[in-house]
């Protein structure tokens, strides 16, 4: 089964992870810009980070025939430094002609503060002026429900935003319908303790269906698992869900969302692997 991990921070993973992911069928990843674990000191720190995301990671991934895409922004945690955030937003267009960039992200809220909301809106302004897709981080734990509603308020308040070009990430049981009912794409993150388990993600799929939804590992420098998407594939198989439904969630949906990027270049999509073809048609 081929799959795409549409949200993984490979900068904080080792090369062996790329190799193991490729062995499990991963053929593309997308890497949103995020917090480094400390606040970066200057706009030049972000410039170097964006070079890493657009130059080095695509090369490292290509060694294992994995296509690497990225998203650019200053994350919500650093938005409290409004002047630095504005400098970064002004610098992002320098990288918007890089072929692996899919759009602006992961922007969003962290503690739902006024400064975070201001910088979120300024990222949306940039994305609207440059016709970019948007990838949204929703807050963690107790802040998620409130923050998701605030994010959706801001997106709906902006007439330029087409929800079909926005992906709301880290949805769980209490936020998934907010995203889908608003016409947005959404993603579930399979992450220990603080987000979804593969079993709960499959429960959510059983409740809301497979349209406009995808899954990711959000693998990063925290305790997380870059092999989480294959675990979801196993859980879906275990419950008897069809190969077509699995492929839609782990492969076709992220591809369909990414393809809306105005920089998207087609590549040869591999045929479904042998185990995805019904037995009676196999030679």
């Amino acid at each position: 089964m081929y799959y795409i991990d549409p949200h993984i921070h490979m900068i904080s993973r080792i090369t062996d992870d790329y190799e193991r992911m490729a062995q499990c069928g991963c053929i593309a990843v997308s890497e949103p810009a995020f917090w480094a674990g400390f606040d970066r000191g200057s706009v030049e720190g972000f410039r170097d980070y964006f070079r890493h995301l657009t130059e080095f990671e695509p090369k490292r991934a290509a060694q294992f025939n994995i296509r690497h895409y990225s998203w650019l922004c200053i994350n919500a945690k650093e938005a409290e430094n409004v002047s630095l955030a504005r400098e970064v937003i002004a610098m992002i267009p320098d990288f918007l002609d890089r072929p692996n960039v899919l759009g602006i992200g992961e922007i969003g809220l962290n503690k739902n503060t006024p400064n975070e909301a201001t910088i979120f809106q300024e990222h949306v302004d940039l994305a609207m002026k440059t016709n970019e897709l948007i990838l949204i981080h929703t807050p963690h734990l107790e802040d998620k429900y409130k923050g998701t509603r605030m994010i959706i308020d801001m997106l709906k308040n902006d007439r330029r935003v087409d929800p079909a070009r926005v992906l709301i990430d880290h949805v769980e049981e209490h936020t998934v319908r907010l995203a889908l009912d608003g016409g947005f794409w959404c993603a579930m993150t399979l992450y220990p303790t603080t987000k979804c388990t593969p079993a709960r993600a499959v429960d959510i799929l059983e409740m809301v269906g497979t349209d406009n939804i995808m899954v990711n590992s959000a693998g990063d420098w925290g305790k997380s698992d870059p092999m989480a998407v294959p675990q979801l594939i196993q859980e879906m198989k275990h419950r008897g869900h069809s190969e077509a439904a699995i492929r839609k969630v782990v492969f076709e949906n992220p591809l369909k969302f990414f393809r809306q990027s105005h920089r998207w270049q087609e590549w040869e999509i591999p045929e479904p692997s042998r185990d995805e073809v019904p037995a009676e048609t196999q030679a």
């Binding site: 107790e142 429900y145 801001m154």
Partner: protein, 85 residues
């Protein structure tokens, strides 16, 4: 997407549910055995855990979503939104 038949789901997830309930019971015992247990008795986190446990015993469904909401801050309508530019 058709979910598993109830009997199959029970067969498959019974031991996992049992193990997770034991984990929760043991965590609550661990807190209770610690020094100054009475001082945390009304800690808002423990209060929420008790509310969540009450949801488990309720047969009306949507338990995961309801427990998520117990652990969530309330949304405040009419908050001051920045304006698009």
């Amino acid at each position: 997407m058709t979910p598993l038949a109830a009997e199959q789901a029970l067969d498959r997830y019974f031991l996992e549910a049992r193990a997770k309930l034991l984990d929760i019971a043991a965590i609550l015992d661990r807190i209770g055995r610690g020094a100054n247990a009475s001082a945390v008795e009304n800690d808002p986190r423990l209060v929420r855990i008790r509310e969540a446990i009450a949801v488990l015993g309720d047969q009306s469904g949507g338990r995961a979503e309801r427990i998520q909401r117990i652990f969530s801050l309330e949304y405040e309508p009419g908050w001051r939104m920045p304006e698009p530019k």
